[in-house]
Protein backbone atom coordinates (compact mmCIF):
# COMPACT_ATOMS: atom_id res chain seq x y z
CA UNK A 1 0.00 0.00 0.00
CA UNK A 2 1.43 3.34 -1.09
CA UNK A 3 0.37 6.77 0.14
CA UNK A 4 -1.95 6.88 -2.86
CA UNK A 5 -3.56 3.61 -1.80
CA UNK A 6 -4.23 5.06 1.64
CA UNK A 7 -5.72 8.12 -0.05
CA UNK A 8 -7.99 5.87 -2.11
CA UNK A 9 -9.14 4.09 1.05
CA UNK A 10 -9.94 7.37 2.81
CA UNK A 11 -11.73 8.75 -0.23
CA UNK A 12 -13.84 5.61 -0.32
CA UNK A 13 -14.71 6.23 3.32
CA UNK A 14 -15.69 9.80 2.44
CA UNK A 15 -18.15 8.52 -0.17
CA UNK A 16 -19.53 5.95 2.26
CA UNK A 17 -20.08 8.60 4.92
CA UNK A 18 -21.88 10.88 2.49
CA UNK A 19 -24.18 8.02 1.62
CA UNK A 20 -24.77 7.16 5.28
CA UNK A 21 -25.16 10.74 6.53
CA UNK A 22 -28.90 10.69 7.12
CA UNK A 23 -28.89 7.18 8.55
CA UNK A 24 -26.18 8.10 11.07
CA UNK A 25 -27.99 11.31 12.04
CA UNK A 26 -31.15 9.33 12.63
CA UNK A 27 -29.28 6.77 14.78
CA UNK A 28 -27.72 9.62 16.78
CA UNK A 29 -31.14 11.20 17.13
CA UNK A 30 -32.37 8.15 19.03
CA UNK A 31 -29.82 8.40 21.83
CA UNK A 32 -27.71 11.50 21.12
CA UNK A 33 -27.97 14.83 19.35
CA UNK A 34 -28.69 13.72 15.79
CA UNK A 35 -25.50 15.06 14.24
CA UNK A 36 -23.16 12.09 13.89
CA UNK A 37 -23.77 11.82 10.14
CA UNK A 38 -22.99 15.50 9.74
CA UNK A 39 -19.75 15.08 11.68
CA UNK A 40 -18.61 12.03 9.70
CA UNK A 41 -19.57 13.24 6.25
CA UNK A 42 -18.34 16.77 7.00
CA UNK A 43 -15.11 15.48 8.47
CA UNK A 44 -14.36 13.14 5.60
CA UNK A 45 -15.42 15.84 3.15
CA UNK A 46 -12.60 17.94 4.58
CA UNK A 47 -10.27 14.93 4.34
CA UNK A 48 -11.24 14.55 0.67
CA UNK A 49 -10.43 18.21 0.01
CA UNK A 50 -7.11 18.02 1.85
CA UNK A 51 -6.01 14.82 0.11
CA UNK A 52 -7.09 16.06 -3.32
CA UNK A 53 -4.84 19.06 -2.90
CA UNK A 54 -1.93 16.87 -1.78
CA UNK A 55 0.72 15.82 -4.26
CA UNK A 56 2.08 12.36 -3.46
CA UNK A 57 2.99 11.82 0.18
CA UNK A 58 3.96 8.85 2.32
CA UNK A 59 1.31 6.83 4.14
CA UNK A 60 2.25 8.67 7.33
CA UNK A 61 1.88 12.06 5.64
CA UNK A 62 -1.49 11.04 4.25
CA UNK A 63 -2.74 9.91 7.67
CA UNK A 64 -1.48 13.11 9.29
CA UNK A 65 -3.17 15.27 6.68
CA UNK A 66 -6.38 13.33 7.22
CA UNK A 67 -6.12 13.72 10.99
CA UNK A 68 -5.66 17.44 10.80
CA UNK A 69 -8.35 18.18 8.26
CA UNK A 70 -10.89 15.91 9.95
CA UNK A 71 -10.30 17.48 13.35
CA UNK A 72 -10.51 21.07 12.18
CA UNK A 73 -13.66 20.50 10.19
CA UNK A 74 -15.51 18.66 12.91
CA UNK A 75 -14.52 19.08 16.52
CA UNK A 76 -17.37 17.23 18.34
CA UNK A 77 -16.55 13.82 19.82
CA UNK A 78 -15.61 12.20 16.53
CA UNK A 79 -12.99 14.82 15.70
CA UNK A 80 -10.46 14.19 18.45
CA UNK A 81 -11.18 10.46 18.36
CA UNK A 82 -10.50 10.01 14.66
CA UNK A 83 -7.74 12.61 14.56
CA UNK A 84 -5.92 10.64 17.24
CA UNK A 85 -6.69 7.38 15.45
CA UNK A 86 -5.19 8.64 12.18
CA UNK A 87 -2.14 10.14 13.87
CA UNK A 88 -1.51 6.83 15.64
CA UNK A 89 -1.89 4.95 12.36
CA UNK A 90 0.57 7.33 10.72
CA UNK A 91 3.01 6.92 13.58
CA UNK A 92 2.70 3.13 13.45
CA UNK A 93 4.04 3.02 9.88
CA UNK A 94 6.40 5.97 10.12
CA UNK A 95 9.36 5.78 7.72
CA UNK A 96 7.71 3.39 5.23
CA UNK A 97 7.04 4.57 1.68
CA UNK A 98 5.16 1.41 0.81
CA UNK A 99 3.31 -0.73 3.33
CA UNK A 100 3.29 -4.51 3.17
CA UNK A 101 0.50 -6.91 4.11
CA UNK A 102 2.25 -7.26 7.45
CA UNK A 103 1.52 -3.58 8.24
CA UNK A 104 -2.26 -3.99 7.91
CA UNK A 105 -2.97 -5.32 11.43
CA UNK A 106 -0.75 -2.60 12.91
CA UNK A 107 -2.83 0.09 11.18
CA UNK A 108 -6.13 -1.17 12.57
CA UNK A 109 -4.65 -1.73 16.02
CA UNK A 110 -3.12 1.74 16.05
CA UNK A 111 -6.45 3.33 15.20
CA UNK A 112 -8.22 1.39 17.94
CA UNK A 113 -5.53 2.39 20.42
CA UNK A 114 -5.81 6.04 19.43
CA UNK A 115 -9.55 5.96 20.02
CA UNK A 116 -9.15 4.19 23.33
CA UNK A 117 -6.42 6.60 24.44
CA UNK A 118 -8.34 9.73 23.52
CA UNK A 119 -11.77 8.66 24.67
CA UNK A 120 -10.83 6.63 27.74
CA UNK A 121 -13.79 4.38 27.04
CA UNK A 122 -13.95 0.79 28.27
CA UNK A 123 -15.28 -2.01 26.08
CA UNK A 124 -19.00 -2.26 26.81
CA UNK A 125 -19.45 1.47 27.36
CA UNK A 126 -21.46 1.58 24.12
CA UNK A 127 -19.09 3.73 22.03
CA UNK A 128 -17.26 3.38 18.76
CA UNK A 129 -14.60 1.51 20.71
CA UNK A 130 -17.01 -1.42 20.80
CA UNK A 131 -16.48 -1.66 17.04
CA UNK A 132 -12.80 -0.75 16.97
CA UNK A 133 -11.64 -3.07 19.76
CA UNK A 134 -13.01 -6.27 18.18
CA UNK A 135 -11.79 -4.99 14.81
CA UNK A 136 -8.24 -4.68 16.18
CA UNK A 137 -8.47 -8.14 17.67
CA UNK A 138 -9.67 -9.66 14.42
CA UNK A 139 -6.96 -7.83 12.48
CA UNK A 140 -4.32 -9.17 14.86
CA UNK A 141 -5.73 -12.69 14.48
CA UNK A 142 -5.59 -12.36 10.69
CA UNK A 143 -1.92 -11.31 10.72
CA UNK A 144 0.00 -12.99 7.92
CA UNK A 145 -2.90 -12.88 5.49
CA UNK A 146 -3.12 -10.35 2.63
CA UNK A 147 -4.06 -6.80 3.69
CA UNK A 148 -7.50 -7.14 2.09
CA UNK A 149 -8.22 -10.19 4.24
CA UNK A 150 -7.03 -8.40 7.34
CA UNK A 151 -9.29 -5.43 6.71
CA UNK A 152 -12.19 -7.69 5.77
CA UNK A 153 -11.84 -9.56 9.07
CA UNK A 154 -11.67 -6.26 10.94
CA UNK A 155 -14.75 -4.92 9.16
CA UNK A 156 -16.76 -8.05 9.93
CA UNK A 157 -15.75 -7.90 13.58
CA UNK A 158 -16.62 -4.21 13.73
CA UNK A 159 -20.05 -4.89 12.24
CA UNK A 160 -20.69 -7.54 14.87
CA UNK A 161 -19.42 -5.19 17.54
CA UNK A 162 -21.65 -2.39 16.33
CA UNK A 163 -24.63 -4.74 16.28
CA UNK A 164 -23.87 -5.77 19.86
CA UNK A 165 -23.95 -2.18 21.11
CA UNK A 166 -27.73 -2.30 21.01
CA UNK A 167 -27.56 -4.65 24.03
CA UNK A 168 -25.34 -2.23 25.98
CA UNK A 169 -26.20 0.57 28.35
CA UNK A 170 -24.26 3.70 27.49
CA UNK A 171 -21.62 4.79 30.00
CA UNK A 172 -19.93 7.60 28.06
CA UNK A 173 -20.89 10.31 25.58
CA UNK A 174 -24.25 11.97 25.17
CA UNK A 175 -26.15 8.74 25.66
CA UNK A 176 -24.56 8.09 29.06
CA UNK A 177 -27.45 9.66 31.01
CA UNK A 178 -29.98 7.46 29.24
CA UNK A 179 -29.31 4.38 31.33
CA UNK A 180 -31.65 1.60 30.33
CA UNK A 181 -33.34 3.81 27.73
CA UNK A 182 -30.26 3.39 25.54
CA UNK A 183 -30.95 -0.34 25.23
CA UNK A 184 -32.21 -1.43 21.84
CA UNK A 185 -30.42 1.34 19.98
CA UNK A 186 -27.07 0.81 18.21
CA UNK A 187 -24.34 3.33 18.98
CA UNK A 188 -23.97 5.63 15.95
CA UNK A 189 -20.19 5.90 16.34
CA UNK A 190 -19.85 2.13 16.36
CA UNK A 191 -22.02 1.83 13.27
CA UNK A 192 -19.99 4.43 11.36
CA UNK A 193 -16.77 2.70 12.45
CA UNK A 194 -17.93 -0.54 10.86
CA UNK A 195 -18.94 1.32 7.69
CA UNK A 196 -15.50 2.92 7.60
CA UNK A 197 -13.68 -0.40 7.81
CA UNK A 198 -16.00 -1.93 5.19
CA UNK A 199 -15.32 0.96 2.79
CA UNK A 200 -11.56 0.69 3.37
CA UNK A 201 -11.72 -3.02 2.64
CA UNK A 202 -13.61 -2.48 -0.58
CA UNK A 203 -11.08 0.13 -1.72
CA UNK A 204 -8.11 -2.20 -1.28
Amino acid sequence: MTGDDIKAMLLAVADAMDAARDELCALDGEIGDADHGIAMSGGFGAVRTALSGMDGGTPTEVFNAAAKSFLNAVGASSGPLYATAFMRAGAAVKGSEVLSDADAPALVEAMAEGISHRGKAEPGDKTMLDAWAPAAEAARAAAGQPAAEVFAAAATAAEKGAEATSQMQAKLGRAARLGARSLGHRDPGAVSAAMMLRAMTAAL
Binding site: E30, L71, V74, G75, P80
Partner: protein, 335 residues
Protein backbone atom coordinates in the same frame (compact mmCIF):
# COMPACT_ATOMS: atom_id res chain seq x y z
CA UNK B 1 -40.53 17.75 4.10
CA UNK B 2 -37.79 20.01 5.48
CA UNK B 3 -38.25 21.99 8.66
CA UNK B 4 -38.70 25.72 8.12
CA UNK B 5 -35.64 27.87 8.59
CA UNK B 6 -34.45 31.23 7.33
CA UNK B 7 -31.01 30.08 6.23
CA UNK B 8 -29.02 29.63 3.07
CA UNK B 9 -26.92 26.47 2.74
CA UNK B 10 -27.09 24.59 6.06
CA UNK B 11 -23.34 23.97 5.99
CA UNK B 12 -22.70 27.72 5.96
CA UNK B 13 -25.11 28.59 8.75
CA UNK B 14 -22.58 28.95 11.57
CA UNK B 15 -20.12 31.05 9.58
CA UNK B 16 -22.85 33.25 8.15
CA UNK B 17 -24.26 33.72 11.64
CA UNK B 18 -20.84 34.82 12.89
CA UNK B 19 -20.57 37.26 9.96
CA UNK B 20 -23.93 38.71 10.96
CA UNK B 21 -22.89 38.92 14.60
CA UNK B 22 -19.65 40.74 13.83
CA UNK B 23 -21.52 43.14 11.54
CA UNK B 24 -23.99 43.92 14.32
CA UNK B 25 -21.56 43.99 17.22
CA UNK B 26 -18.25 45.03 15.72
CA UNK B 27 -17.76 47.56 18.50
CA UNK B 28 -17.52 44.84 21.14
CA UNK B 29 -16.45 41.71 19.22
CA UNK B 30 -13.89 40.72 16.63
CA UNK B 31 -12.73 37.44 15.10
CA UNK B 32 -9.22 36.19 15.73
CA UNK B 33 -6.98 36.34 12.69
CA UNK B 34 -5.87 32.80 13.43
CA UNK B 35 -9.41 31.40 13.36
CA UNK B 36 -12.75 32.80 12.30
CA UNK B 37 -14.33 30.58 14.94
CA UNK B 38 -12.46 32.34 17.76
CA UNK B 39 -14.46 35.43 18.79
CA UNK B 40 -12.62 37.89 20.98
CA UNK B 41 -13.83 40.73 23.21
CA UNK B 42 -12.44 44.04 22.03
CA UNK B 43 -12.37 45.49 25.54
CA UNK B 44 -11.90 42.48 27.79
CA UNK B 45 -8.41 40.96 27.72
CA UNK B 46 -5.59 42.89 29.33
CA UNK B 47 -2.15 42.56 30.85
CA UNK B 48 -2.11 40.77 34.17
CA UNK B 49 -5.74 39.64 33.94
CA UNK B 50 -6.70 35.98 33.88
CA UNK B 51 -8.14 35.25 30.45
CA UNK B 52 -11.57 33.59 30.46
CA UNK B 53 -12.30 31.44 27.41
CA UNK B 54 -15.70 29.83 27.02
CA UNK B 55 -17.11 27.87 24.14
CA UNK B 56 -19.00 24.96 22.73
CA UNK B 57 -21.30 24.06 19.91
CA UNK B 58 -23.46 26.60 18.10
CA UNK B 59 -27.23 26.59 18.26
CA UNK B 60 -27.45 27.82 21.87
CA UNK B 61 -27.20 31.54 21.13
CA UNK B 62 -26.76 33.91 22.92
CA UNK B 63 -24.68 31.23 24.69
CA UNK B 64 -21.66 31.33 24.12
CA UNK B 65 -20.75 34.16 21.79
CA UNK B 66 -23.20 36.61 23.35
CA UNK B 67 -21.42 36.43 26.70
CA UNK B 68 -18.09 37.65 25.37
CA UNK B 69 -17.25 41.17 26.47
CA UNK B 70 -15.75 43.33 29.13
CA UNK B 71 -16.41 41.89 32.57
CA UNK B 72 -17.50 38.49 31.34
CA UNK B 73 -15.70 36.12 28.94
CA UNK B 74 -12.70 37.35 26.97
CA UNK B 75 -13.28 34.97 24.09
CA UNK B 76 -15.44 32.14 22.84
CA UNK B 77 -14.48 29.18 20.66
CA UNK B 78 -17.39 28.37 18.39
CA UNK B 79 -18.16 24.88 17.10
CA UNK B 80 -20.55 23.60 14.48
CA UNK B 81 -24.16 23.22 15.53
CA UNK B 82 -24.30 21.06 18.69
CA UNK B 83 -20.64 20.09 18.15
CA UNK B 84 -17.64 21.09 20.23
CA UNK B 85 -15.21 23.39 18.45
CA UNK B 86 -11.96 21.70 17.44
CA UNK B 87 -8.80 22.60 19.37
CA UNK B 88 -7.63 25.27 16.89
CA UNK B 89 -10.15 28.02 17.67
CA UNK B 90 -9.83 27.30 21.38
CA UNK B 91 -6.06 27.67 21.08
CA UNK B 92 -6.48 30.90 19.10
CA UNK B 93 -8.68 32.21 21.91
CA UNK B 94 -6.02 31.37 24.48
CA UNK B 95 -3.32 33.15 22.50
CA UNK B 96 -5.45 36.25 22.01
CA UNK B 97 -6.56 36.67 25.61
CA UNK B 98 -3.54 35.53 27.58
CA UNK B 99 -2.42 38.43 29.75
CA UNK B 100 0.37 36.55 31.48
CA UNK B 101 -1.76 35.51 34.44
CA UNK B 102 -3.05 32.27 32.96
CA UNK B 103 -6.22 31.32 31.14
CA UNK B 104 -9.34 29.53 32.37
CA UNK B 105 -11.41 27.33 30.07
CA UNK B 106 -15.05 27.07 31.04
CA UNK B 107 -17.63 25.06 29.15
CA UNK B 108 -20.41 22.54 29.62
CA UNK B 109 -19.51 19.01 30.59
CA UNK B 110 -19.84 17.06 27.31
CA UNK B 111 -17.46 14.34 26.11
CA UNK B 112 -16.65 16.09 22.82
CA UNK B 113 -15.94 19.45 24.43
CA UNK B 114 -13.68 17.87 27.03
CA UNK B 115 -11.59 16.09 24.39
CA UNK B 116 -11.21 19.13 22.14
CA UNK B 117 -10.55 21.73 24.84
CA UNK B 118 -8.10 19.36 26.56
CA UNK B 119 -6.15 19.06 23.30
CA UNK B 120 -6.10 22.86 23.05
CA UNK B 121 -4.88 23.15 26.64
CA UNK B 122 -2.06 20.72 25.87
CA UNK B 123 -1.07 22.82 22.85
CA UNK B 124 -1.19 26.01 24.93
CA UNK B 125 1.09 24.42 27.49
CA UNK B 126 3.67 24.06 24.70
CA UNK B 127 3.44 27.87 24.33
CA UNK B 128 4.03 28.15 28.10
CA UNK B 129 0.52 29.44 28.76
CA UNK B 130 -1.07 27.87 31.81
CA UNK B 131 -4.62 26.82 31.04
CA UNK B 132 -6.95 25.40 33.64
CA UNK B 133 -10.42 24.06 33.13
CA UNK B 134 -13.68 24.27 35.05
CA UNK B 135 -16.58 22.29 33.63
CA UNK B 136 -20.15 23.43 34.27
CA UNK B 137 -22.48 20.74 35.60
CA UNK B 138 -25.61 22.60 36.62
CA UNK B 139 -28.24 20.30 35.05
CA UNK B 140 -29.54 18.46 38.11
CA UNK B 141 -31.69 16.18 35.96
CA UNK B 142 -28.75 14.72 34.08
CA UNK B 143 -27.23 12.51 36.78
CA UNK B 144 -27.98 11.60 40.39
CA UNK B 145 -26.55 13.71 43.18
CA UNK B 146 -23.78 11.25 44.06
CA UNK B 147 -22.52 11.56 40.49
CA UNK B 148 -22.88 15.33 40.28
CA UNK B 149 -19.57 15.60 38.42
CA UNK B 150 -21.15 13.71 35.49
CA UNK B 151 -23.90 16.26 35.02
CA UNK B 152 -24.27 18.38 31.89
CA UNK B 153 -23.77 22.12 31.75
CA UNK B 154 -26.85 24.00 30.56
CA UNK B 155 -28.42 27.43 31.15
CA UNK B 156 -26.68 27.82 34.51
CA UNK B 157 -23.57 28.56 32.46
CA UNK B 158 -24.88 32.08 32.43
CA UNK B 159 -24.41 32.60 36.17
CA UNK B 160 -21.24 30.54 36.44
CA UNK B 161 -19.50 32.35 33.57
CA UNK B 162 -20.72 35.67 34.94
CA UNK B 163 -19.21 35.04 38.36
CA UNK B 164 -15.89 33.85 36.94
CA UNK B 165 -15.76 36.69 34.44
CA UNK B 166 -16.33 39.24 37.18
CA UNK B 167 -13.65 37.61 39.31
CA UNK B 168 -11.15 37.87 36.46
CA UNK B 169 -12.29 41.46 35.84
CA UNK B 170 -11.50 42.20 39.50
CA UNK B 171 -7.97 41.02 38.65
CA UNK B 172 -8.11 37.96 40.89
CA UNK B 173 -5.35 35.39 40.44
CA UNK B 174 -5.84 32.24 38.39
CA UNK B 175 -6.16 30.28 41.62
CA UNK B 176 -8.93 32.54 42.81
CA UNK B 177 -10.78 32.72 39.52
CA UNK B 178 -10.71 28.94 39.37
CA UNK B 179 -11.93 28.73 42.97
CA UNK B 180 -14.77 31.15 42.24
CA UNK B 181 -15.73 29.23 39.11
CA UNK B 182 -15.92 25.91 40.95
CA UNK B 183 -17.80 27.48 43.80
CA UNK B 184 -20.28 29.16 41.43
CA UNK B 185 -20.81 25.89 39.60
CA UNK B 186 -21.37 23.99 42.84
CA UNK B 187 -24.06 26.46 43.87
CA UNK B 188 -25.98 26.62 40.57
CA UNK B 189 -28.94 24.33 39.85
CA UNK B 190 -30.94 24.01 36.64
CA UNK B 191 -33.97 21.98 35.59
CA UNK B 192 -35.41 22.08 32.09
CA UNK B 193 -38.55 21.02 30.27
CA UNK B 194 -38.91 20.48 26.54
CA UNK B 195 -42.18 20.78 24.62
CA UNK B 196 -41.10 20.29 21.03
CA UNK B 197 -37.99 19.22 19.13
CA UNK B 198 -35.41 21.24 17.24
CA UNK B 199 -33.82 20.56 13.87
CA UNK B 200 -30.28 21.03 12.63
CA UNK B 201 -29.66 23.41 9.71
CA UNK B 202 -27.88 20.63 7.84
CA UNK B 203 -30.57 17.99 8.16
CA UNK B 204 -33.70 20.08 8.56
CA UNK B 205 -35.38 17.11 10.17
CA UNK B 206 -36.72 17.00 13.74
CA UNK B 207 -33.98 15.78 16.07
CA UNK B 208 -36.35 13.75 18.17
CA UNK B 209 -39.97 13.00 18.55
CA UNK B 210 -42.13 14.64 21.20
CA UNK B 211 -45.73 13.77 20.38
CA UNK B 212 -48.67 16.17 20.46
CA UNK B 213 -49.70 17.00 23.98
CA UNK B 214 -46.51 15.67 25.59
CA UNK B 215 -43.59 17.28 27.36
CA UNK B 216 -40.33 15.93 28.75
CA UNK B 217 -38.88 17.10 32.04
CA UNK B 218 -35.11 17.06 32.30
CA UNK B 219 -34.39 16.93 28.58
CA UNK B 220 -30.96 18.27 27.65
CA UNK B 221 -30.27 21.23 25.41
CA UNK B 222 -29.38 18.96 22.50
CA UNK B 223 -32.47 16.86 22.95
CA UNK B 224 -30.79 14.33 25.23
CA UNK B 225 -33.58 12.35 26.88
CA UNK B 226 -34.72 13.55 30.30
CA UNK B 227 -36.20 11.94 33.35
CA UNK B 228 -39.93 11.96 32.77
CA UNK B 229 -42.16 12.18 29.73
CA UNK B 230 -45.88 12.70 29.93
CA UNK B 231 -48.84 14.91 29.12
CA UNK B 232 -48.30 18.66 29.32
CA UNK B 233 -49.16 19.99 32.75
CA UNK B 234 -50.18 23.46 33.90
CA UNK B 235 -47.29 25.89 34.33
CA UNK B 236 -47.48 25.88 38.12
CA UNK B 237 -47.21 22.09 38.28
CA UNK B 238 -44.24 22.06 35.91
CA UNK B 239 -42.47 24.73 37.94
CA UNK B 240 -43.29 22.89 41.16
CA UNK B 241 -41.60 19.73 39.89
CA UNK B 242 -38.55 21.76 38.97
CA UNK B 243 -38.46 23.76 42.18
CA UNK B 244 -39.01 20.70 44.39
CA UNK B 245 -35.86 19.22 42.94
CA UNK B 246 -33.86 22.44 42.91
CA UNK B 247 -34.77 23.40 46.47
CA UNK B 248 -33.97 19.92 47.68
CA UNK B 249 -30.53 19.94 46.00
CA UNK B 250 -29.77 23.47 47.12
CA UNK B 251 -30.47 22.88 50.81
CA UNK B 252 -30.61 26.61 51.51
CA UNK B 253 -31.52 28.07 54.88
CA UNK B 254 -34.34 30.54 55.38
CA UNK B 255 -33.04 34.06 54.74
CA UNK B 256 -30.48 32.96 52.15
CA UNK B 257 -30.33 34.91 48.91
CA UNK B 258 -30.56 33.55 45.37
CA UNK B 259 -30.34 34.72 41.77
CA UNK B 260 -32.88 33.34 39.30
CA UNK B 261 -32.82 32.69 35.57
CA UNK B 262 -35.99 31.62 33.79
CA UNK B 263 -34.65 30.66 30.40
CA UNK B 264 -36.44 29.98 27.12
CA UNK B 265 -35.16 27.24 24.85
CA UNK B 266 -35.95 29.12 21.65
CA UNK B 267 -39.60 28.93 20.67
CA UNK B 268 -41.28 29.66 23.99
CA UNK B 269 -42.72 33.17 24.31
CA UNK B 270 -41.75 35.56 27.10
CA UNK B 271 -45.36 35.37 28.27
CA UNK B 272 -44.85 31.77 29.33
CA UNK B 273 -41.48 32.45 30.92
CA UNK B 274 -42.93 35.21 33.07
CA UNK B 275 -45.86 33.00 34.06
CA UNK B 276 -43.24 30.48 35.20
CA UNK B 277 -41.33 33.18 37.06
CA UNK B 278 -44.45 34.01 39.04
CA UNK B 279 -44.50 30.49 40.43
CA UNK B 280 -40.72 30.31 40.87
CA UNK B 281 -40.83 33.40 43.06
CA UNK B 282 -43.77 32.08 45.02
CA UNK B 283 -41.86 28.88 45.80
CA UNK B 284 -38.71 30.74 46.76
CA UNK B 285 -40.74 32.99 49.00
CA UNK B 286 -42.41 30.03 50.70
CA UNK B 287 -38.96 28.59 51.35
CA UNK B 288 -37.96 31.83 53.03
CA UNK B 289 -35.41 32.70 50.34
CA UNK B 290 -34.76 36.20 49.11
CA UNK B 291 -34.42 36.77 45.38
CA UNK B 292 -31.61 39.20 44.81
CA UNK B 293 -31.88 39.36 41.01
CA UNK B 294 -33.95 37.76 38.27
CA UNK B 295 -33.33 37.31 34.55
CA UNK B 296 -36.05 36.10 32.21
CA UNK B 297 -35.51 35.44 28.51
CA UNK B 298 -33.65 33.34 25.98
CA UNK B 299 -30.16 32.92 27.42
CA UNK B 300 -29.31 29.36 26.49
CA UNK B 301 -31.33 27.99 23.61
CA UNK B 302 -31.60 24.82 21.57
CA UNK B 303 -32.31 26.26 18.15
CA UNK B 304 -36.11 26.31 17.74
CA UNK B 305 -36.92 23.95 20.58
CA UNK B 306 -39.94 24.94 22.67
CA UNK B 307 -39.44 24.67 26.39
CA UNK B 308 -37.78 26.40 29.27
CA UNK B 309 -35.48 25.94 32.21
CA UNK B 310 -35.23 27.37 35.68
CA UNK B 311 -31.82 28.08 37.20
CA UNK B 312 -31.26 29.12 40.78
CA UNK B 313 -27.87 30.25 42.03
CA UNK B 314 -27.43 30.06 45.77
CA UNK B 315 -25.65 33.31 46.53
CA UNK B 316 -23.18 34.24 49.20
CA UNK B 317 -21.62 37.68 49.60
CA UNK B 318 -18.87 37.03 47.11
CA UNK B 319 -21.12 35.54 44.42
CA UNK B 320 -23.62 38.35 44.88
CA UNK B 321 -20.92 40.96 44.38
CA UNK B 322 -19.66 39.17 41.27
CA UNK B 323 -23.12 38.72 39.75
CA UNK B 324 -23.82 42.43 40.30
CA UNK B 325 -20.55 43.61 38.76
CA UNK B 326 -21.16 45.48 35.48
CA UNK B 327 -20.36 43.75 32.21
CA UNK B 328 -20.77 44.78 28.59
CA UNK B 329 -21.34 42.00 26.11
CA UNK B 330 -22.97 42.13 22.71
CA UNK B 331 -26.05 40.26 23.88
CA UNK B 332 -26.03 40.86 27.61
CA UNK B 333 -25.32 43.75 29.92
CA UNK B 334 -25.26 44.46 33.60
CA UNK B 335 -25.05 48.14 34.46
Amino acid sequence: MQTKKIINNGDDAVDEMLDGILLAHGDTLRASEASGRAIIARHGPREGKVGLVIGGGSGHEPTFVGFVGQGLADAAAIGNVFASPPPDPALACVQEVSGGAGVLFMYGNYAGDVMNFDMAAEMAAMDDIEVRTVLTTDDVASAPRDQAEKRRGVAGNFFIFKAAGAAADEMMSLDDVERVARHANARTYTMGVALSPCSLPQTRRWNFDLPEGEMEIGMGIHGEPGIERGPIKPADEIVDEMMDRILDEMGAASGDRVAVLVNGLGATPLMELYIMNRRVQARLGEAGLETHATWVGNYCTSLEMAGASVTVMHLDDELQRLIDRPCHCAMFRVV
